[in-house]
């Protein structure tokens, strides 16, 4: 009895810890300007949507969200496609150099962004791909491939080789095996990897900051980080923008939480 009470209490504390700061921000976004400026801060807002209107229409939030969708979506699609191919090869063809490739990818994913930001900017500059969707998308593909390949390899490894070999013996070509046997089985894993890559590229800030300087195509993190200030910070609008920026991610996360946790821990436990 005492144990379950302690457990319930701990669970509550953990939930509050995770939710409270963000909840505070969301509540802020629903205040009126007067309530926002109240010192000491008012705890309960009236449901005022002015900040949301201002954030969406005066500050171009809708445009930022659109840009992020395009960039993150495209990068995820290509990254998962390319990554799946590589992961399949690595998981099926146990060659010495494939293992090395995997470790090299791990090492690469540890590079600090600053170490590659300058030259990446230079390359995009030469290609005239700065301030373009394809420029940033290409950079994102390269950045997310290590993560994608690692997770996908883990999932592909779980697809039993016997099933494939049976299909091959039955006369299917490799490509048919891929399409009809492997992909359906690995689909949950691929979806998980796609989700993780999407969230990763959606949240990316550093490269977006230096590559996208035209506000028409800037992504959401840059928009939120550089929210232009009135003489005092427009906290109401920032809170509203942040809420709008985060809610889709939260829904995605809650919906796919099992898969996400599996994906995150796949690397940790089995890698």
């Amino acid at each position: 009895m005492k144990r379950s009470l302690a457990l319930a209490l701990s669970a509550l504390v953990i939930a509050l810890y995770c939710l409270l700061p963000f909840l505070w921000f969301v509540l802020t976004s629903l205040k009126t300007p007067a309530e926002l400026a109240a010192i000491p801060p008012r705890l309960v807002p009236s449901l005022h949507w002015g900040f949301y209107q201002s954030a969406l229409f005066d500050h171009g939030l809708a445009r930022y969200i659109g840009n992020s969708l395009i960039v993150a979506g495209t990068a995820t699609l290509i990254s998962i496609t390319v990554g799946s191919m590589a992961a399949y090869a690595i998981s099926r063809f146990q060659l010495a150099w494939t293992r090395f490739y995997l470790l090299a990818l791990l090492a690469i994913s540890m590079f600090p962004q600053i170490a590659i930001a300058g030259p990446v900017w230079n390359i995009l500059n030469h290609l005239d791909w700065l301030n373009t969707y394809h420029g940033l998308v290409t950079a994102y593909i390269a950045l997310s491939l290590p993560l994608a390949i690692w997770i996908l390899t883990t999932f592909f490894r779980e697809v039993p080789v016997e099933i494939e070999e049976a299909a091959l013996i039955d006369g299917c070509s490799r490509l048919q095996v891929l399409r009809k046997v492997v992909l359906p089985l690995a689909a949950p894993g691929i979806l998980t990897a796609a989700l993780l890559v999407f969230i990763h590229t959606w949240n990316e800030f550093f490269f977006a900051l230096i590559i996208m300087t035209d506000p028409d195509i800037q992504t959401l993190p840059v928009g939120i980080a550089l929210f232009p200030g009135e003489y005092t910070m427009p906290w109401g609008e920032i809170a509203a923008a942040s809420t709008l920026a985060t809610l889709p991610l939260i829904f995605l996360t809650l919906f796919f939480q099992r898969g996400i946790v599996r994906g995150l821990s796949a690397g940790a436990v089995k890698g």
């Binding site: 495209t74 699609l77 900017w121 700065l130 969707y133 035209d214 005092t232």
Partner: protein, 425 residues
């Protein structure tokens, strides 16, 4: 599937271009203002006078430092979707040297330049060419609570030590826990250099030796000034909070009636007399900054200019915008609405303007004598070094100013050495 993909991708790349095809888009990066209506109206008027041109404005971050970082990132990116930008008074040399700003001599004749105040024009020149048109001028000024000084029978201070004593007296007498003696900008950003330069120059010191291209912050007079600020201004009559203040926070403190003395640019006069923001309307006085005994009061030259990007595809249209914004009429309107000081000499004898903004006349001398910060393409790293030094010296009690200034001087000299190397300019 993959083909569909490519089409998709290409479409997205082309989409922005398609939208642009209709009007000539002039993209301007301007600083944040508390009178957006003024600019919107001006832009609307410009568009009326120039059919077929649409101005797209982008508001930059409030902090001059962040504005700089973002603007230079665009220019480095050779962003062709940037035509016109505001420049802080310290950027033209850097932008000119880096090849980001378009030389404006073919548009901006020397006769025309002669109609503007000298100091801002000089700030926009680099190696014989001009790279920006001054929009308004700023100089550091001292604001004070007339009512409090009168109440304690004090005349406005002429020296910094006198100011400190006056503040202490008033604080002791008023017994108001919310009142501080001094509000200025001491956060680690460009404004800190402006504030500190005024103290240093007021003590007979300097930031650098322009002739010999070496640093001067390690000299005794400069160090004395820094010590004074740390030990007297911040420790005795201010709160630690000022170490986090840029202009907005510091003027808010003064306008709320919580500071006796305040250092800021001319715009603060408007704020202090704005019924929506101020509780001290009619109680505020304004004067040139004090000096140290034996020295001369110095004011940092500030202000904003408009430049044209070298990568702009429509320089002629861009120039029309620049000319419009810096015209006699526009500057007068800006001065009327925002209290920002114009850069055209003629406006200082304009009776209409002076009726509305009377202090312009008395401040003209201060503007003419305002001292610019080092005008050099490497000002950005120099400023960062100085910001670092000043911030650490002021924020850390017991900071070793001798050591820190020596280190700052060493770093500044290394940067300045780069200028001595000549290759073809």
């Amino acid at each position: 599937m993959r083909d569909l993909f490519c089409i998709f991708a290409i479409l997205f790349c082309l989409l922005p271009q398609a939208v642009n095809a209709q009007a000539t888009l002039l993209r301007a990066v301007i600083s944040r203002t508390d009178t957006p209506q003024l600019w919107d109206d001006a832009i609307a008027e410009f568009e009326q006078q120039n059919p077929g041109v649409k101005v797209v404005k982008e508001i930059a971050p409030n902090s001059s430092t962040q504005f700089h970082d973002l603007l230079t990132q665009k220019l480095k990116n050779r962003d062709t979707r940037l035509d016109v930008f505001f420049m802080d008074v310290i950027w033209p040399s850097e932008f000119a040297s880096a090849g980001w700003a378009l030389p404006l001599d073919r548009f901006f004749s020397t006769t025309e330049q002669g109609k503007f105040l000298e100091a801002p024009i000089a700030a926009n020149r680099y190696r014989g060419e001009i790279f920006g048109v001054p929009l308004f001028i700023d100089a550091g000024l001292l604001y004070y609570r007339k009512d409090l000084l009168e109440k304690h029978r004090m005349a406005p201070p002429r020296h910094w030590p006198e100011l400190v004593d006056q503040a202490k007296t008033v604080l002791a007498a008023e017994l108001d826990p919310h009142l501080v003696g001094y509000s200025g900008q001491f956060k680690q950003y460009e404004g800190l250099v402006c504030n500190m330069m005024e103290f240093i120059l007021g003590n007979g010191g300097a930031l650098w030796d322009e002739q010999r291209l070496v640093s001067a912050v390690q000299q005794e007079r400069a160090k004395q000034a820094v010590r004074f600020v740390r030990d007297h201004i911040i420790s005795e009559i201010s709160s630690r909070g000022v170490l986090a203040y840029e202009e907005p926070e510091s003027v808010a403190l003064f306008a709320q009636g919580r500071a006796i003395f305040h250092r800021n640019w001319p715009y603060a006069w408007r704020v202090a007399n704005d019924p929506e923001q101020s509780r001290v309307i009619g109680k505020v006085g304004m004067m040139p900054l004090p000096a140290f005994p034996g020295g001369k009061g110095a004011s940092t030259l500030g202000g904003w200019q408009i430049g044209i990007s070298r990568f702009s595809k429509i320089p002629e249209v861009a120039w029309r915008f620049v000319a419009f914004m810096t015209s006699h009429q526009m500057q007068k309107r800006i001065a009327f609405s925002t209290g920002r000081a114009p850069t055209r000499k003629a406006l200082y004898t304009d009776p209409e303007l002076l009726a509305q903004v009377p202090w312009l006349e008395s401040m003209l001398e201060t503007f003419k004598q305002a001292v610019p910060r080092p005008r050099t393409p490497v000002y950005a790293p120099l400023s960062n070094i100085m910001q670092r030094y000043f911030s650490a010296a002021l924020a850390l009690p017991g900071s070793k100013i001798d050591q820190r200034s020596a280190l700052a001087a060493r770093d500044m000299d290394r940067v300045l050495d780069l200028l001595r190397e000549t290759a073809a300019p």
